[in-house]
Symmetry: C2
Subunit: 323 residues, 2 copies
C-alpha cells in the first residue's frame, strides 16, 4: 500500500520535529515563544519543480536549496533562525529514494543552522513544489532592512558572485564544475547577517541577481549606487567565465548567489575586517551609494555598473524574473 | 507588457499590506511582536489547483478558501489571528480578472478576520497553488490542543456537517444548492475557538472529514470515542442528501466543513450555552470520550460511529487523503 500523507509525515518528518513548538506535528498549529526584548522575523520561499530546480533534481538538492534560500532571507535581516514550517507539494514521480534523500538533507540542514521543524502541510501536487516558511528573532534596534542606505555609504558584497549561475549550468549539462556546490547547496550567510545587525545601513541577500537586488535597496532607500564592475568578486570559475563584458553581465544578473550585499557608513566601515573574520567570509567593497534628486523618476533609484573605461555597463535585464 | 512578479505584488498585494510588520513588502522578511504573556501560533495551508479547488474556480473563491481554511487551524487552537504570509504559485492561465477577484476577496477576508498581510512569495508555477501561512497569539495556559480529551468528556461539533462536501458537488455540477456558500466561502470559527480556549479539553477543525478528524483527537489523547451517528447535525441540504446510511457515511467523511469538533469535561459543559451565544453558532453534542486499555493497538484510538440500532457504522474511509 502506498503511503498516504499521514504516513509520509510520520515516517519522514515527525522524527525531525522533536521540539516543543511542533507538538509532535499532532496539532493544527505550532506554538512558539519570543524572548523579551526580541522581535519575530518571518519569511517564506517557494521552489517549484521545473522553475526553481530541474525536474530531475534529487531530494537532497531540493531540500538544501529550499532551506538555504529561505534562511538566506533571515540572514539579510540579521536575524537568528528559530523554527520553520515545510510545505511539501508532492508530485506523482517522487519515490522513496527522493524522500529518503530529502529528509536526510533537511535534517542535516536543520542541525547545521539550528532551526527546528515546527510543522507544515503535505499535499498532492501535479507539479511538485517545496515551500519553507522560516522564523527567527532579532533585537528591534539591530534588525537590518533595505531602506537605510545613505549617500556616501560604501557598498559591499560577501563571498563571490556568479557561482550559483555557473553551478546551475554545470548541473544542467552534467559537468562537474567548481561552482556546482554553490548551486546544489547554497549556504545562507547567517553569521555574517547577525554580525552586520546594527552595523550595516541596508542589506539584502543576492537571490535574483546582484544588479536587481541592489536596485531593491536603492528603491527602498531612495538612493542610487555606483558599482565598479571590475570590483565584483569572482571565484576562479567566475574569472574563467568572464572572457568579455557579456560574461560579467550574465554573472551580475544570474542570481542564486545567496551572498549578502549591504551598505555601510564611513563610521562603521572599520568594523568590517573583524566581522569578516568572525563570519569567515570575504567582504569586498564594490561601490558607493550616491544621492538622487528628490523628484527623480523611479528608474533613477538604481545601481549603475561602471566598467573599466568609466562607461556604464548595459544590462539587458537586472535579474531573474518569473514572467 | 505582461506584469512581472514585482508588478503583480505592487499592484495587487502592496495595497493590502499597509501594516508595520509588512515593511511595505520591501524587505526580505516581515517583523512582528508578541505581547508579553502570549505565545505565537503559526500554521500553513496549501491549496493546489485541480486538487483542492477546481481549475475553473474564480479568484474570489480561491482566496476565500485559502484564507478560510488556514484561519480555521488557528480557530482550532483558540488563537487570535495577527498576520499572514501569502505564497502565490501563479499559473499560465491566471488573468487580470482572476487577480482582481482574488485581491478583492483577500482584502475583504483580511478585514473581516482582522489579520494583516505581512508578506509572502510570488512564483510562477505550471500548476497554480496558493499557500497561506497564518500567525496568531494566545495565552499559554488557554491554547487548545488535540491531546487533552479524557474518558467521560462529552464530544461536540459546531454548526452542521457535510455542507462543504455538498457545496463542492453543487459547484462541480453548476447547481445552485443551499450548501454552495459553505464550499465557496468557508467561515473559520475563530470566535468559537477563542471562547473554547481554556474550556474545551481537546479541539480540532473539521477539514478532512469528521470521522478522520475525531480520530486525530483520539490518537493524540490516547482515547476512543463513541459517536451517535444520528446526532450529527445536518443542514436542510444535508438532511435531504441522507436518504440512507451511505449518505451519512459520505457526509461524515467528506471534509471541508471548517467547523470545530471538541471534547469538554462535565465540569465545563455548563459553559457551552453561553459560548454558543457569544460565538453565534449552534453546538451539538454528538458523543462521549471513552477510555481504551493502555496496551491498545493503534486502531483502537478511533471514533466509533454508532447507528440507530446500536450497531457500528461501517466507514470505508475516515476522511480525505491525498494519496
Amino acid at each position: 500500500m502506498p503511503m498516504d500523507e499521514f504516513d509520509l509525515i510520520a515516517h519522514y518528518l515527525t522524527p525531525l520535529a522533536a521540539n516543543k513548538a511542533a507538538r509532535g506535528l499532532a496539532d493544527d498549529a505550532a506554538v512558539f515563544e519570543i524572548p523579551e526584548g526580541y522581535q519575530g522575523v518571518v519569511s517564506t520561499d517557494a521552489l517549484v519543480s521545473g522553475v526553481h530546480f530541474p525536474e530531475a533534481a534529487s531530494g537532497d538538492i531540493v531540500a538544501q536549496r529550499a532551506l538555504g534560500s529561505a534562511l538566506s532571507d533571515l540572514a539579510a535581516m540579521g536575524a537568528t533562525p528559530t523554527g520553520c514550517l515545510l510545505t511539501w507539494g508532492i508530485g506523482p514521480d517522487w519515490d522513496s529514494a527522493f524522500f529518503d534523500q530529502f529528509a536526510a538533507a533537511l535534517g542535516a540542514g536543520l542541525d547545521t543552522y539550528k532551526v527546528a521543524l515546527w510543522g507544515g502541510d503535505t499535499v498532492r501536487a501535479p507539479t511538485p513544489f517545496i515551500s519553507v516558511c522560516v522564523h527567527g528573532i532579532g533585537r528591534k534596534s539591530d534588525l537590518l532592512s533595505r531602506s537605510g542606505a545613505r549617500a556616501g555609504d560604501a557598498v559591499y558584497v560577501s563571498g563571490t558572485i556568479g557561482d550559483g549561475f555557473l553551478g546551475l549550468q554545470d548541473f544542467a549539462t552534467g559537468a562537474n564544475g567548481a561552482a556546482r556546490a554553490a548551486y546544489e547547496r547554497p549556504v545562507p550567510q547567517l553569521a555574517l547577517g547577525q554580525a552586520l545587525a546594527g552595523v550595516a545601513s541596508a542589506c539584502i541577500d543576492v537571490s535574483d541577481g546582484l544588479a536587481g537586488d541592489l536596485d531593491h535597496i536603492c528603491r527602498a532607500s531612495g538612493v542610487a549606487m555606483e558599482i565598479e564592475a571590475s570590483a565584483v568578486p569572482l571565484s576562479a570559475a567566475g574569472v574563467a567565465y568572464v572572457q568579455d563584458a557579456a560574461g560579467l553581465q550574465t554573472l551580475v544578473t544570474g542570481g542564486d548567489d545567496y551572498q549578502l550585499a549591504f551598505s555601510v557608513s564611513a563610521d562603521n566601515a572599520g568594523k568590517l575586517d573583524a566581522i569578516a573574520r568572525t563570519a569567515n567570509v570575504a567582504l569586498t567593497r564594490i561601490g558607493t551609494v550616491i544621492g538622487t534628486p528628490r523628484q527623480s523618476p523611479t528608474e533613477a533609484f538604481s545601481a549603475r555598473f561602471v566598467d573599466a573605461d568609466g562607461g556604464q555597463m548595459r544590462l539587458e535585464k537586472r535579474g531573474y524574473t518569473h514572467f
